[in-house]
């Protein structure tokens, strides 16, 4: 098992205690393409933050590749994020004053890879995502789909075990949404990367192989979706 969650509980204590995750048990194997689906407030973002070591949990155990992720220092957490996890955000979260290639290089910069090598690698990934011509452009000169592809390149460059995508299509139209989802599927199949997509759109979830439904902090049903038939709207395209 690549990812093992055992009875994860998380409570926010902002004034009134809010029990967000109420004992989550989930296993995700290497090479899976999983979506976590739920309405807003269901706890899916919190779950994603815990999976991404961006947030800590109160009780339970979380293993990545057999390693317990608990009580890490900021430095260790940063190192794990850097080497094991790639993030794709809803709002792309590219750094506006850096060009596409500089954005893609950034994770390697924090790994201490030398300048020449990381530039070369970043260009390789951009080329693979069909953005080689756009390498010297700034994010505000690109379309949403292009931006998300830059973000995907940035997530891939450290060759992480897991890619976490938080509403990766949230800011895209249906056509580009579909392209992005197909790209993720292709990466999953060709590179055998484990991809976890958090979404509330059934059409997006339908593109994945396994759908984990989360509701009110507990996992409801886990659907096998290798046939991509879960959503009647999502059979041909992503509905917006």
């Amino acid at each position: 098992m690549l990812i093992e969650l055992k009875d994860i509980n998380k409570t926010y204590n902002n004034g009134q205690p809010l029990h967000v995750l109420k004992g989550i048990n989930l296993n995700i194997d290497s090479g899976e393409f999983v979506s976590i689906m739920g309405a807003s407030g269901s706890g899916k973002s919190t779950l994603l933050n815990i999976l991404g070591i961006l947030d800590n949990y109160d009780t339970g155990e979380y293993y990545i590749d057999g390693r317990l992720i608990k009580g890490l220092t900021e430095k260790q957490a940063a190192a794990y994020r850097n080497s094991m996890i790639g993030f794709i955000f809803q709002s792309f979260n590219l750094i506006g004053f850096k060009t596409a290639v500089e954005n893609v290089e950034l994770p390697l910069f924090y790994q201490g890879v030398n300048r020449h090598k990381r530039h070369e690698l970043a260009m390789q990934y951009l080329d693979r995502l069909g953005l080689a011509d756009w390498a010297r452009h700034y994010p505000n000169e690109m379309s949403g789909g292009q931006k998300q592809r830059v973000a995907i390149a940035r997530a891939l460059i450290t060759s992480p075990k897991i890619i976490l995508a938080d509403e990766p299509t949230g800011a895209l139209d249906s056509k580009t949404s579909e392209e992005v989802m197909q790209l993720l599927g292709q990466l999953n199949r060709e590179d055998n990367v484990t991809i976890i997509v958090v979404t509330h759109e059934s059409g997006v979830a339908n593109c994945t192989d396994k759908i984990v439904h989360i509701k009110d902090g507990v996992i409801g049903k886990i659907e096998d979706n290798r046939q991509h038939r879960s959503s009647i709207f999502g059979t041909d395209t992503i509905m917006k």
Binding site: E74, F87, F89, L94, G112, R154
Partner: protein, 414 residues
């Protein structure tokens, strides 16, 4: 901390991105360091200019001369004139053992000195050989008056710089030449080039110094002397002797010992300590103003960095999410702060050095002025080091705020 070309480029980029903001903030630091260095240099130059005026003058000395009495005493009316005389010399020497030198001066103003076809108006100063302890001569040619000159009433003189330059425009050693001052010929035995502007009975530049034993006869002064100069033994403060000397003079010349105005006592020890205090005060002020201005600039930098960090919350969050450690963020913010402070400060140092150079050139072109205004190299290095430290300090608060930004904030702030 990771250093490569990109780290520096990033710092430069983020400073250049907000050009006007960086400029305005940097100006505070620039002006602060300029003020501090310029004031330090200016204060030092001023001190040199002032100290030069007192060059060669005994620092623990007093000059006394009689004046009208202002109080009646033992049947004498007020407003009486009295004179110092030669007996006072021995009297003071014997009764105040803490005095090292007691030496009289008699002078005659406005005497024409002539050599060949050249002439100049001079002041004749009649002194004993030990007068050199009061106003230290800076002998260029020949010698100062000695005891033999005094004892034998030789017609010899030591001439001041301006007299020498006017009477001997061709230069060279004038010793042995005879100059005529008033109605008498004197042989020149020495030339005094002392530069100080503080002197007794007229500037040393325009003085013709002759033996007092001779002068009292030539100018018919009898037993009277114009003024008495005294110096204290080392370790004795002149101020502590002042009152005693006043008492002794009052008793022997029959005026009220409490009559402070009957005898003028100019105390150089007091003057010098006053001057020292003045410059200590001035220095304190310089540092207060200079450091205060820099501090204001640094607070400005700190403030702007705070704003920058707030603006860049998302960016910092993204960096954290993709693997930047808190230390990476800390060093980035602090390096930015140092870069801004140091860049602005270096310009300030350069500007201050240029302004001081200009000041020095202007002042040294004035007649009779010379002083070093320029700060030393090490002062500039220390200033640069100070700037670096201040840059770190300015970056601390913003950096700690940046470190507290969690990666989740990047996703939350939309």
């Amino acid at each position: 901390m990771r250093f490569d070309l990109d780290s520096y480029r990033e710092i430069a980029d983020s400073l250049v991105r907000n050009k006007s903001r960086s400029l305005l903030t940097g100006f505070g630091v620039f002006w602060g360091i300029f003020m501090l260095l310029f004031l330090i240099g200016g204060g030092q130059g001023l001190k040199q200019l002032v100290t030069r005026e007192f060059d060669g003058f005994a620092t623990n000395a007093a000059i006394m001369f009689p004046s009208q009495t202002t109080k009646p005493w033992q049947g004498y009316k007020q407003g009486r004139y009295w004179n110092l005389n030669y007996t006072d010399i021995d009297r003071l020497k014997q009764m105040v053992p803490d005095l090292e030198t007691v030496t009289p001066v008699v002078s005659s103003w406005g005497q024409t000195a002539v050599y060949g076809t050249n002439s100049i108006t001079s002041n004749v100063k009649c002194v004993f050989a030990d007068y050199a302890k009061i106003e230290e001569p800076s002998i260029r040619y020949g010698r100062y008056l000695n005891d033999a000159d005094i004892a034998q009433e030789r017609k010899v003189c030591v001439i001041g710089r301006r007299i020498y330059e006017s009477l001997f425009p061709a230069g060279g050693d004038p010793c042995g030449s005879y100059i005529k001052v008033g109605a008498v010929y004197y042989q020149v035995v020495g030339v005094d080039f002392s530069s100080g502007n503080m002197s007794v009975q007229g500037s040393a530049d325009e003085a013709v110094v002759i033996p007092l034993s001779l002068g009292r006869k030539i100018y018919h002064r009898g037993n009277n002397i114009d003024l008495l100069c005294v110096t204290g033994r080392s370790g004795i403060r002149m101020s502590s002797l002042e009152n005693r000397m006043q008492q002794i003079l009052a008793r022997s010349h029959n005026f009220d010992p409490t009559d402070k105005q009957a005898v003028f006592i100019i105390n150089t020890e007091q003057m010098f300590s006053l001057m020292d205090n003045l410059f200590t005060g001035l220095n304190f002020l310089i540092w207060l103003v200079g450091l205060g201005t820099i501090l204001a600039g640094i607070i400005g930098v700190s403030n702007i960095m705070m704003v920058t960090v707030r603006e860049r919350t998302i960016e910092i969050g993204i960096r954290r999410a993709i693997g930047a450690t808190p230390r990476d963020i800390l060093s980035q913010i602090i390096l930015e702060s140092i870069a801004l402070t140091l860049a602005a400060g270096s310009l300030g140092i350069i500007f201050a050095v240029q302004m001081l150079r200009l000041t020095q050139t202007i002042v040294n072109n004035l007649p009779d002025m010379s002083a070093t205004f320029q700060i030393s190299f090490w002062t500039a290095v220390a200033a640069a080091a100070l700037l670096t430290v201040l840059g770190v300090i300015a970056g601390l608060a913003p950096a700690s705020r940046a470190m507290n930004i969690k990666p989740v904030d990047a996703m939350r702030d939309e």
